[in-house]
Symmetry: C2
Subunit: 206 residues, 2 copies
């Protein structure tokens, strides 16, 4: 039975999971995710196959953990916290752009891989939501909309927008779309009855 991922004291567990995750990382540089078997993973990780199932229910769970961890780390590296204010939200959007383009160019062709992309999506939106919630937990729900609802909606909107951008062929650089996406997402965040958002904030550029 897989134990929650962060509160791991035992170094053996940490080691094994690390091995499995980096093994998957390595393999995905050559094969597409769907072509990789649990056998492949445990083999290159030098871990017994049965041990794999002590940690993850299947390879999809491993992928989810890998992506969630990587993205979480990226956010922390950039010291992104309390994501409500425009600058923080912009930083989150930029990070998502970087992460997606990076894993897109990762050799793992993102053709029609039935279950691959949807899983990544879930991992990323969850991480974004977490950061946004930090910045919303002290906001009064003046609009009748719960902070959870706002955080979830905003996180999905961000991921959707970035995904749309990342799959555009002749896409502009990330720094250029970030303000555009921000323009779409800010109204959502400002629906939280925060201290200074009672006016409409039209953003009207151009």
């Amino acid at each position: 039975m897989p134990i929650s991922d962060c509160e791991v004291r035992d170094p053996r567990i940490k080691r094994t999971r690390q091995l499995l995750q980096s093994a998957l990382r390595t393999l995905m540089q050559n094969k597409s995710f769907e072509e990789i078997s649990v056998q492949d993973i445990t083999e290159t990780a030098t871990v017994n196959r049965a041990t794999f199932y002590d940690h993850y229910t299947d390879k999809y769970a491993l992928l989810e953990a890998l992506v969630a961890g990587s993205f979480q780390m990226l956010l922390e590296e950039r010291a992104i916290r309390y994501g409500t204010c425009p600058s923080a939200a912009g930083a989150i959007i930029l990070a998502t752009c970087d992460f997606l383009t990076q894993s897109h160019s990762n050799g793992a062709d993102c053709q029609r891989q039935s279950a691959f992309e949807p899983l990544v999506e879930a991992a990323i939106t969850t991480a974004i939501r977490r950061v946004l919630m930090e910045g919303l937990k002290d906001a009064s729900p003046s609009s009748g909309i719960s902070p959870e609802m706002i955080a979830t909606t905003a996180s999905w909107a961000i991921y959707g927008a970035v995904k749309e951008w990342s799959k555009t062929s002749g896409r502009p650089p990330a720094e250029e779309v970030v303000p555009l996406i921000l323009q779409l997402v800010l109204p959502i965040l400002q629906s939280a009855g925060s201290v200074e958002s009672q006016h409409a904030t039209p953003v009207a550029q151009s």
Copy 2:
């Protein structure tokens, strides 16, 4: 090689896919998706197992087709088109609410099913995006944001919001959240430089 799904002339193909999809439907009333094997599906569909792979790469692809088709049908039943205006957007949100609660109560316990939910999400956002695009294709991109970007962002925001609502334990009835979600999503849609959206439209209820 699975052929695109709607342009099917041959009645044999239509028949087989129908059998497979309704077989999955039936089985999901008792077992969770992860517990269902391709064997189970083909068995209850009275279709040869090898034939399954002539139509879908795996059971996840079948699920995706099933969900996409069902949701699409729901939208068409309600005659939802050109989803940009508030009333149409509200109808889309309500439909999503209904669809999610329905499939949630479907006996398929939505515990930690690694790849199940994420896949459903992809199918639904795609369908929502399609409807939204119909209403945006004639909107001038005055804000520098492409209609595709707006449609994608809005569709993800909608799905995220509805999902958050549907997993809330003591949730209000659907009719009650629709206007709230609408309030979050409308600003996105109105970022398209449509004919009559230059004013802020604050919606300010309560």
